[in-house]
Symmetry: D2
Subunit: 384 residues, 4 copies
């Protein structure tokens, strides 16, 4: 039986924002141990990060290629179970593909890659190798998101009619990419970020969340992207009209120039019978509106009878002890780890212990290409 | 000097929703007295309403035409100063025009009328007769809306970059127009409501609020209207991508099938320096976000130093004693009454004691025609 | 049948805070008309206020004694149905008693008077004369307060175990009574305010609300009063431990030096089965907590099935159109007016159309005397 | 240089609530590794917990006495740096004392022990041994609590006048201690919990938070404790009137029968110039009220210029990515770890990287004894 899962990391060196988050998330439940890393394209940074993490220097690498090759050659009880890829977008595809081919399961940051073509190729690779793949659309890990999905899937709010999702940040309200902000630099550089800026960085989160909770897919959209800050090379603001496969309509708003906004992701789904609202910045509440009953607020950690099994599976502490971003992120790592264990033991995984995967990555890339095309074409409708 | 303004009313008989609201709003400050009415196309209802309001039966009329003709013939110290028109949309244009021509000032419910052509004709009539015209886009009457406008106009948040306005209700989530709901009947009947449903009924409020607070006008839009409830003849849900004259972008979302929503009008404006958020259901707060300072919340009725002159002029009671919908509505009646008095005395009105007028009505009709056209044309861009 | 109730007013002249509130509240529903007034101890102010209100100068008086005597002598179809007393505390007892003896019904601001002895004498006068008496503990007029009481009385939350009521304001955080603030002057003057300051001015509101909603009476208390601002003659801050007749415990906190607080009255009642929370500054929500169900939020104006009859009777407009302080205050005037009409027609009043009366006034004075005594006696327990 | 701190644990076996929290908190930042444990008085449970944590069986003990003795005999590079005590209250004193005497630093859950006498003895032991002691009043670890303290200490709100702290839970609303709820069993058993129930379990948290943020100490109190649920042996509800050393007044309310409440700890401090409000259930906001400026809301993770150094030191991720209970708890472990490292290197610790210690434990026990005495004595005043 697997005691602790061994993890390698690609990217996430000093100065990284998301690397430490992945490491805290992986560490929280004590199921995972970091064993090796190629933390940076700068070998010195990679070595320093490995040392700070307490790694043996023999398992800190100058390049991810070296790491994948060498670690794959280690004995089974030493080599990592999975690689976690936390690099900028342009460095997702190649490492992910190589790691999969080398027999590693893969955790990868979002968006999946740079194009639909790359995405489909990765999907084929995952299917062919039989390796597991987790795309860190981490917002799906919140207990109340699980509850929301359970309610919608269970028909509690009736057929979905309307979805309003938005993700507003303000940190790109000025041209910070020219002032040494490394997070902004690569996100606003088409060579590293891809065809879209805000829409790729946060719009895909919103898109994924909407499809995940609602269970219906976008089929058509009209988009309007803007580069609001003069000199910016990619979109920093965008709005999209959505049509879903079941006839529902919706809107997706994403901005990184919504000045003063922190990380304001919210989702509302209106059904025939009721509606739900969830806001990431107060993640432990899920508000449900009904036409003829009082407003209901579901709360993380409250009585099982109230909150249901899916939320409870993803909750660590009693109600009123706020669980936050890291805990939600850790739920992806935990579910992914449980899946690896189940696979290694020949068991089925618990379907409620789900996590976003390669298919979500393909959807996201299709969404991005349609958004960019529609916006260039006078916001006219475009299939997804 | 005018002591109390005399008001006549067209529409607003028993069963009316908005008629009693206009009467409460007119009565609140004690500046206005109802003296005559043609409250319904049903003479019995008109008479009963007049009696309930304590009117002399000689001044309760079977038709609004009779009332305008007869009241205009009364001595100056008896006849109304203004007529208040609170009928369904198709009965705005003709009574308004006749009342203006007969020398009355006019208060009229929104949307202004049935077409841009009618709107322009009414605008010409207002200008030609020199009568005053108030269109009851009542949400502009809230103290914190005044504060918001003052801040944006004063440059406090910098150049406007992005506007997100939405207005969600849920009361049309089923086909209530077939179940005896009179409010739903006319609003969903193209002969009485006009070319649009939800977009006319509440979308125009949202549109007006956005232009009022931001001070910039929409020049171009892409729209997606839906008739979500089977059997409904007009749109009950719509989303619009907006471009503004100064280059700003925005979105306007309006729905009456957002099940469980009460009267959820909200507006966010993002500038270069800061942003504001106002929500009608908690109208006494105005939230301001800054990139490098704590969140600020302005509150109705707090110290003048904090809240400024425009809000104070529209506040009746100390902070923490909530002012609501009727008080905001009454601010339109009060400002309109003050304008009539100023005009009668040859004075200028206080520019801060403003109210929406004929120009807002024309804008609203242009917006509606553009929205309907864009939606029919695959959501492609359309000029406003 | 009575068409409109005629009202006389004692106090409420220029510079008054509460006078205009009473007049707006009385006017809102169009059931009441102001016919006479003795608005100030300064005849010039009284005359000016009467003129501004459009009263005939013959019915504006220099003293309330003159008014009561003269108006009582007028024909029945001219003289007021009731007198509204909106003076400082020391001028409640005598005018109320004289008005009752002269045959008028009485509306009186709170607290009732200056002592338990006065209160009991007024109670005897009310009972003897058969006149109606309304004490404007106006917070009981909110729809969600009616809903709260209905729920508690109906046993929905089970036996009451714990009540936490508080009323925090900040406007007396400095010695404003020496800077020309007329509201502060009399409230901090023992000759005009009585034995208590904040506890009389707002503590009695909190006390009344707790007993009204819970339906149980305080039997014992321990209090700690402070005069926080140097130079202040009465308490501006106080906290009270409460025991109720049914064994429940509670706390009542009242302060006018809670700097920055606007008018923060809130109440929580914990029962055996569930609990309720109501906050005056967001008065249209009533939050209900359960041990094993989602949080519920009742909302003013929502479906009758959700919100119940008592709230609906006190609601004027649809859900999401906020009703505020003036509307709640107006509910007292409306219920009082309906009672006068019912009495005049020999009918019973609707028990749900209730309003606070003389008995509430006696309770408030007993509370105040017990609080002051306990605080002087080292916070030891004292019967109420 | 210390790489990772080694931790032993006393208590926290299967079925423990707080044990896993301590372990997650210790693990989050990767500074600590669990090396040994005596997790339960039941050896089988202790062994199973150790195995689940991946400990070598040689370092899982049947009794804490065995562990302290044996681990103290291990070489310096193997034996733990500190012991973490997460047992019920009656098992704090003896293990803490023994661990200190054996040379270990100690983390201990709250309340410190069973009496002031025990507390003073532990204080003497800490001082004598020179070992570090952390009492897990974990709520002090939130970034916005750090900000609040920084503001009050820096004089931003002026001299403190009034403190209102409360801690409401509902989970003991019925006699769950007789239904197999292990958390309730020991907390309601005087032999294990001590002289107080709710007041010890959560009241001491509230007390500590009030003194920590305000910087002023309670000198006198009047209390009212109740055992609301029939059959309960200790208080489950209590309210306390407080006087502080600087003349400020306050109230402390604690209840575990506030049905429906989750973990509702909140604190308000009113100064001469402004006031602050913090609520644990929305821990990333700190609301500041001013008499003449808009409300301010400080937010975890926002610009350094806005939020200050103390909060930033205790924040892991950007604004709007909620940090929760575990992160706050982890801040205590991190600061304690940093102190151990500083001590080992002969450095001063950063005064902002503080954590609650032995002195807070003594204060808490004095508070408890005074509360129980006052409540027994008719709520009369009692010195602390």
């Amino acid at each position: 039986m697997i005691k602790k899962l061994r993890m390698g990391m690609i990217g996430g060196g000093e100065g990284s924002l998301i690397g430490p988050v992945h490491r805290m998330a992986a560490r929280l439940d004590g199921m995972t141990v970091l064993v090796c890393g190629a933390f940076s394209s700068d070998p010195a940074i990679s070595a320093a990060t490995g040392a700070a993490e307490g790694l043996d220097s023999s398992r800190t690498y100058d390049t991810w290629q070296d790491m994948v090759v060498h670690e794959a050659s280690l004995p089974e009880d030493i080599r990592p179970h999975f690689m976690s890829i936390v690099t900028p977008n342009h460095l997702h595809y190649a490492p992910a593909k190589m790691a999969l081919e080398a027999g590693f399961h893969v955790v990868c940051d979002k968006p999946l890659c740079m194009s639909v073509a790359e995405a489909l190729d990765l999907q084929e690779t995952v299917e062919r190798t039989g390796r597991l793949f987790c795309l860190t659309h981490n917002y799906t890990g919140y207990p109340m998101v699980k509850r929301a999905r359970e309610m919608v899937m269970g028909g509690e709010i009736g057929a979905v009619r309307k979805i309003a999702v938005e993700y507003f940040q303000g940190w790109l309200s000025s041209l910070v990419e020219t002032t040494g902000n490394r997070q902004a630099e690569w996100r606003s550089d088409p060579r590293k970020a891809g065809i879209a800026g805000a829409m790729a960085d946060i719009g895909t989160h919103a898109f994924n969340l909407a499809e995940y909770i609602s269970g219906v897919e976008v089929t058509e959209l009209s988009a309007d992207l803007g580069s609001v800050v003069p000199g910016r090379l990619l979109d920093d603001d965008g709005s999209v009209l959505l049509h879903f496969e079941n006839g529902a309509r919706g809107t997706l708003l994403a901005s990184q120039v919504a000045i003063g906004e922190e990380n304001n992701l919210s989702l509302r789904i209106y059904g025939e019978k009721g509606s739900i609202t969830w806001r990431q910045m107060e993640p432990n509440s899920l508000t449900v509106l009904w036409p003829d009953r009082p407003v209901q607020v579901y709360r993380t950690g409250t009585a099982f009878a109230a909150t249901g099994v899916a939320a409870h599976m993803h909750t660590r502490i009693p109600a009123g002890h706020p669980e936050g971003f890291i805990e939600a992120f850790a739920n992806l790592y935990r579910n992914f780890s449980l899946h690896i264990i189940a696979l290694s033991e020949g068991n089925e995984r618990d379907p409620l212990a789900d996590y976003p995967g390669i298919r979500d990555g393909v959807r996201g890339m299709k969404f991005l290409e349609a958004v960019v095309a529609s916006s260039r074409d006078n916001s006219s409708k475009r299939a997804v």
